[in-house]
Assembly symmetry: C2
């Protein structure tokens, strides 16, 4: 089994992007540093196509062969020229199928990086083993929600710590 | 000046009520106990009319004369028969006017108890001095949001503690 860890940074009121902005420009440097460091313990990532595009420059520049990145899109064929086997793969498979494939290919720890639609699909399928939430000290009132739908996922608190003076990291387990 | 403290319990994704439920039936006993105990340090409360109605039985049963409760509604005259001077007062005044009146009447610490629309109006006016957020270990995907609009309120972390095994209380200051 591949262990799936949802990693997100959000406002106190649950928005992973502010108002009509895309991306995580509201995040503190401490959260960025945490994410960069935390990802070293993973061997795979899942993200939606829009999230991939916000990270594309960084991913393309990376020389690392550590990560198998599964990018979820309804139209994988449209992104065929960006694909690199074992590094960047586009898929329209279901959450369960993607995780089964990662397991079959020997991947042990997968970071679920968003966005909201991707988080929602995995939460809705009950496949999220851990939730690592960075809380920035902001209230937005609107933006991209962490998740949508009629979910009722319950977790157990594993740890809480500060990443910076005002930024908190909470870790939960299923 | 009256110090205004927003107190709310929410899911991890920022919902103060689940899906189409009203009320805080998702909250842990630990959060209920915290709220009951915390309110002893206040001399006044502000809430919206719908929140008042979910608390009405408890408020009517209370023998305490400690709290001046300001209930926000567009139609205060409609609730005139429920009003009790110095204890339960209905108002359509603005957030700033309500706080100015509380200060003029010698009230020092006011708890802002919701719901979402009431929270939003005070946040939008920049009148919230502290934010006390209970985080239950749940993800709902939908429900009543803590706040709505295009807010960008930034706070400073004052403290974090656990209320129960899986429930966290975060306190922020302006």
């Amino acid at each position: 089994m591949t262990r799936l860890i949802l990693i997100a940074a959000q406002s106190l009121d649950g928005f992973i992007a502010k108002h009509d902005h895309s991306g995580t420009d509201f995040c503190s440097p401490e959260d960025r540093a945490f994410l960069a460091s935390a990802l070293k313990d993973f061997d795979s990532m899942i993200m939606g196509r829009a999230t991939f595009q916000t990270l594309q420059e960084r991913i393309s520049a990376s020389k690392s062969t550590r990560y198998l990145r599964k990018i979820m899109t309804r139209q994988p064929e449209r992104y065929a020229d960006l694909a690199k086997p074992d590094l960047i793969e586009f898929t329209n498979a279901s959450p369960a199928e993607i995780l089964a494939e990662l397991a079959a290919r020997g991947r042990q720890r997968c970071a679920l990086l968003g966005g909201g639609e991707t988080y929602s699909r995995f939460l809705d399928s009950g496949l999220v083993d851990e939730l690592w939430l960075t809380l920035e000290p902001l209230v937005f009132g609107s933006g991209t929600p962490l998740a949508t739908g009629r979910l009722e996922n319950r977790f157990r608190l594993a740890s809480m710590e500060t990443l910076g003076e005002n930024t908190i990291l909470l870790r939960y387990r299923k």
